[in-house]
Amino acid sequence: MSAPVSVPPSAPVVAPISPHAAVETLLRHFPEEVRVAYVRLRDTGDPAAADTLVLAIVADHMPRSEAALTDSAELIADLGFDSVAIAEMVFFLEDLLQVNVSNAEILRVRTVGDLRAFVRLKLASVPRA
């Protein structure tokens, strides 16, 4: 059993992240603020931390590294993702957050904003451990 999660009153309920998804492994190449955000998400369920994490992961995977990372940016048209690159990014999220994402769910995500919203929703829907 995981330790009880403390959720800030203003934040929606977000499921705890499995403690074994580690800052020291998957996120070791990311900047310090991203790793801190992951720990905050894991410990508090803070959805703002999830946003920080998602944006950093998109930036890390997007083929057009110079493209602007706005909410309306389309993964394929604007950021240069192809289906394999999207699958790679989704697997990274699955592995990090210990969730499973279906093909149907992936197909509904077109923009960075869609992805941010999807991850928030996904984490909220994961049953508490």
Partner: protein, 422 residues
């Protein structure tokens, strides 16, 4: 029109050097690339040495952790689907393309093909499957398949370079890249392709190397200076190695017309299997002898015309003896006495890539005028009686050389290379 093929470019990531100059220096001075290694940090393992690849760090399953020598730049879209030996292969191929003086556009014209050989990445396959088992196969790395299965080299290199000609992989264990080379020659001869890249690569890690210890095929001699000693009485198994070699083969007139550097002509090849055992060579080397004769016949060359044989001999008791007897059958019985050496005393045995690596060594010997010696050969096995086993590298310009390879299942492949008349 009789189409012939010439070698116009070489690239090396090997235990004896990561470029042509270093490899040539090592072959000339018999400087070995074998080093002490402790696989998995386990000091109780009997295997203590390997033909290691220097200047690379590829111990991690994540490409983000990898390090490679300066001078190579790869995008993440390329790196994400590579295995460690795929990285070696990419570096060797970059060298070979530059060496051949080829523009990138020349690779995408459909006249250029790519044949590769590797056993895949047992290391990454194990990592990916372990990860999938842990997730009860509910998720996995989407790049796991193309990065790790046999064929990973041709998948990745073909996509990276935009190759539009023949693309494929060969899986005949330690003869694989020799098959690749032979089939590439056929494609050029019959006019299907004008240029072929032939790439062999392997990893040198616990997952690729140590299963051969379970077969009792690896040397347990802990001394890097003597562990790999082909044809020597004291040999006790092969020394695992890895790396990558790329060889550019081109239709001769096309190569000459564009003023390409020409190392050697690839004059013929032959193959024949033992029909004997899944893992052990025929004790008399009958399949290898047939393969040598077929290669000589294909090249229109008599045994007495061969100046040098780069033997497959890996330093195993059974394999080296079998090859020595095959050489006596083909050469000694015909009154011929070419110089013979196995360069695996220097390099160790890099499995699938051995054939193309040693073909590249032959090309260097033909162009630069030397014959590499047998490193670590002190007391030749009595099965070698009558063979001219060089102890040191000699400055003698061979005109015709034979390159031998053998693999599991009794596959034997031989190539004949000839000094180019520029």
């Amino acid at each position: 029109m009789n189409r012939t093929a010439v070698v116009t470019g070489l690239g090396f990531i090997t235990s004896i050097g990561n470029d042509r100059a270093a490899v040539t220096r090592s072959l000339r001075t018999l400087t070995p690339g074998i080093a002490r290694i402790e696989f998995l940090g386990n000091p109780t393992l009997g295997v203590k040495v390997a033909g290691t690849i220097k200047e690379f760090a590829v111990d991690s399953p994540s490409w983000r952790d990898w390090r490679w020598p300066a001078g190579y730049e790869f995008a993440r879209e390329t790196l994400r689907s590579l295995s460690p030996h795929g990285l070696y292969a990419l570096c060797a191929t970059e060298q070979a393309i530059a060496d051949a003086g080829l523009a990138r556009e020349a690779l995408t014209d459909g006249g250029t093909g790519l044949y590769c050989a590797s056993a895949g990445s047992a290391f990454l396959l194990h990592h990916n499957l372990t990860q999938m088992h842990a997730a009860r196969f509910e998720r996995g790395n989407p790049m796991g398949v193309v990065a790790s299965i046999a064929g990973t080299l041709n998948f990745n290199l073909a996509a990276h370079y935009g190759i539009r000609g023949a693309v494929g992989g060969f899986a005949a264990a330690c003869a694989s890249s020799s098959h690749a080379l032979g089939c590439a020659l056929d494609d050029i001869r019959i006019g299907r392709q004008t240029r072929m890249l032939i790439v062999g690569a392997e990893e040198v890690n616990a997952e690729t190397t140590l299963p051969f210890a379970a077969m009792r095929a690896l040397s347990t001699n802990p001394d890097p200076a003597t562990a790999s000693r082909p044809f020597d009485q004291a040999r006790d198994g092969f020394v695992g190695a890895g790396g990558a070699v790329c060889l550019v083969l081109e239709e001769a007139e096309t190569a000459r017309h564009r003023g390409a550097p020409i190392y050697a002509e690839f004059s013929g090849w032959g193959q024949a299997a033992d029909g004997y055992n899944v893992a052990v060579s025929h004790p008399e080397g009958t399949g290898l002898a047939s393969a040598m004769r077929r290669a000589l016949s294909d090249a229109g060359v008599a045994p007495a015309e061969i100046d040098y044989v780069n033997a497959h001999a890996t330093s195993t008791p059974a394999g080296d003896r079998s090859e020595a007897l095959a050489l006596r059958t083909v050469f000694t019985a015909a009154g011929a006495r070419p110089r013979v050496s196995s360069t695996k005393g220097l390099t160790g045995h890099p499995l699938s890539m051995a054939g193309v690596m040693e073909a590249a060594f032959c090309a260097l010997a033909l162009r630069d005028g030397f014959i590499p010696g047998n490193a670590n050969l002190t007391q030749p096995d009595e099965a070698c009686a009558g063979l001219d086993l060089l102890r040191a590298t000699v400055d003698a310009a061979p005109r015709l050389v034979l390159n031998n390879s053998s693999g599991f299942g009794g596959s034997n492949v031989c190539h004949v290379f000839q000094r180019a008349e520029n």
